[in-house]
């Protein structure tokens, strides 16, 4: 090993340590912010060192590509609103998967004989990276609303299985040396890219968080495999750590939604199953003025935000409303369901952005006992996470999912755009209860009306 190589490898070792320590720090609220900085320093070091890697040329091309990627991703990442974070993660993750696939393609197209183990891992990493690439782009499109609905048909999973087997068989032929002019390699990639699209299209918007997390883990794995191909240990370590951590994170998320990874990946039936749908009674509307009075004279109000609040960008107004109530001596708390929003932690981030202090925000298990002593539960843009059917109806798709016990509150006010069902398509029994009043309208407009009505008191 030349001295330059020794220095480069040493830098990679330091970078790997920084990645792991950074990730560790990101898993605790008090150290999270410094965690990303540690990891960022590691990345910068590893990237700069790679420019001195023996045999690396084409510097102009490399610089232009980095500049393009940095400007485009840096600009979009700075510009998007906090509500759009989940789809941006999907987008950047897809880019990583595509990059891993590109590495595999370059290595496989090269005119040298790869050993069996290297060729195999290059292909596996290439297939996984390609699936993650197109799959993440579809997830991005779905969350952005560019792709609407789910596309399900009979035999879909069997077709996907055939695609997967096809890419595996072709890969085996490539490894065995039956690929004179790289046609088979191209076919492997094309099939994998199609498979990523086909796998993601039938998955509903509510499950996107789980699927993005899964693709994140898959990209990590693909990066790890391509690291083996290039004999680059920093890639092997960082990729595998993310692959493992991402898999665990995916399981945690699926569990919080009372789903299994299998049920998310292989939704069955041509449309979402809707059962236990018929709720008795009728929805009773309320005006903002009355709702404002109800809350202003309450002892205790618990606010339950959901994705609707994020879409309406209502978090600032909701916090303004809360401050008014607190000023009137009302005990205000926020209850966050683990899967409220499109991603775990999504609501916490939004409320934190609006300035809601940490100590007013409670997890489901911390606050569920308090609903019984609560005068008003204000549900704003949440739906399935407060549906009592999850407790009562074993035939329901969400049966068994832990919910926030909003229905135990003396009064429930539900802020909602219209009368439709939530993400899952399940009728919400809560809306039909005697102690529930519906406050129709856009979350931000309604919150503004509530603020004004309380100010007038």
């Amino acid at each position: 090993m030349s001295s330059v190589e020794t220095i480069i490898q040493s830098i990679y070792v330091v970078a790997a340590v920084l990645f792991i320590v950074g990730l560790k720090r990101m898993s605790s609220p008090t150290t999270a912010r410094t965690g990303i900085i540690w990891a960022g320093i590691g990345m910068l070091m590893a990237t700069i060192a790679t420019f001195f890697y023996p045999g690396v040329e084409n510097f102009v091309l490399i610089a232009v590509a980095i500049l393009l990627g940095t400007v485009i991703a840096g600009y979009t990442a700075k510009k998007v609103g906090m509500t759009e974070m989940p789809e941006m993660i999907a987008l950047y993750n897809g880019m990583g998967g595509g990059a891993a696939a590109a590495i595999a393609a370059v290595e496989l197209f090269k005119d040298h004989h790869l050993s069996i183990s290297v060729a195999t891992l290059a292909l596996i990493g290439g297939i996984i990276g390609s699936i993650s690439f197109t799959g993440s782009l579809i997830a991005f499109g779905k969350l952005q609303g560019m792709i609407k609905g789910t596309f399900r048909f009979k035999g879909q999973h069997q077709i996907n299985l055939v695609l997967l087997l096809g890419s595996v068989v072709l890969s085996a032929l490539v490894v065995a040396g039956f690929d004179a002019d790289a046609t088979l390699v191209i076919m492997v990639f094309v099939i994998a890219l199609i498979l990523g699209i086909a796998m993601t299209m039938p998955i509903g918007g509510g499950d996107m968080a789980v699927i993005i997390s899964l693709y994140n883990a898959l990209t990590g794995l693909a990066v790890g495999f391509e690291g083996y191909v290039l004999q680059n240990y920093s890639m092997i370590i960082a990729g595998t750590v993310v692959g493992a951590a991402g898999t665990l994170l995916t399981q945690l998320m699926a569990k919080a939604m009372n789903k299994t990874l299998i049920s998310v990946l292989f939704p069955f039936g041509e449309t979402a199953q809707v059962s236990g749908g018929e709720a008795e009674g009728e929805m009773k509307p309320i005006e903002a003025g009355d709702a404002g009075i109800m809350m202003a004279f309450a002892q205790k109000v618990i606010i339950i935000p959901g994705y609707g609040m994020a879409v309406a960008q209502a978090q600032q107004k909701v916090w303004e409303l809360s401050q008014l109530l607190i000023g009137k001596g009302v005990d205000v708390k926020f209850a966050i369901h683990p899967v409220a929003g499109r991603m775990p932690g999504h609501m916490n981030v939004l409320l934190a952005e609006a300035g809601v202090p940490y100590e007013l925000i409670f997890d489901e298990d911390e606050i569920n006992q308090e609903f019984k002593s609560c005068d008003v539960a204000l549900v704003i843009g949440a739906n399935d996470v407060v549906n009592p059917i999850a407790r009562t109806d074993p035939s329901s798709e969400i049966y068994g999912m832990p919910i926030l016990n909003a229905d135990y509150a003396s009064n429930v006010i539900v802020v909602k755009r219209g009368q439709g069902t939530g993400f899952s398509g399940i009728e919400n029994v809560l809306f039909f209860l005697d102690n529930t009043r519906m406050l129709y309208g856009d979350g931000q407009a309604v919150a503004t009306d509530l603020v004004n009505s309380i100010k007038e008191l």
Binding site: L61, G69, Y92, A102, L249, G345
Partner: protein, 95 residues
């Protein structure tokens, strides 16, 4: 022997990954996913090597695409994570 060293590295790195995030609170799930998304942006290192050693135009084209995508992963992943975690800071300072 190289292969076995690599297998050991895979194994130990996998355990590290599981261990590192085993006790993460739900509020950090999204930022952590974003942070780990940034960390696999190290694929940029590999993409630079692949493009740096590319010879034919086809290899260069794919390699260029790879470096572009990889830097998007790293930069976008960093900025998004930083912005999300920024909120945890302002919260602490408000207290």
């Amino acid at each position: 022997m190289e292969t076995f060293i690599a297998i050991y590295i895979f194994m130990l790195a996998a355990f590290t990954g599981l261990e590192v995030i085993s006790k993460v609170p739900a509020i950090l799930h999204t930022p952590l996913m974003s942070g780990s998304n940034f960390i696999h942006g190290v694929v940029l290192v590999g993409a630079i090597i692949a493009l740096g050693m590319a010879e034919t135009n086809l290899e260069k084209t794919i390699g260029f695409f790879g470096v572009f995508l990889a830097s998007g992963n790293a930069v976008g992943g960093y900025v998004v994570t930083e912005r999300m975690l920024e909120m945890f800071k302002s919260k602490k300072e408000n207290e």
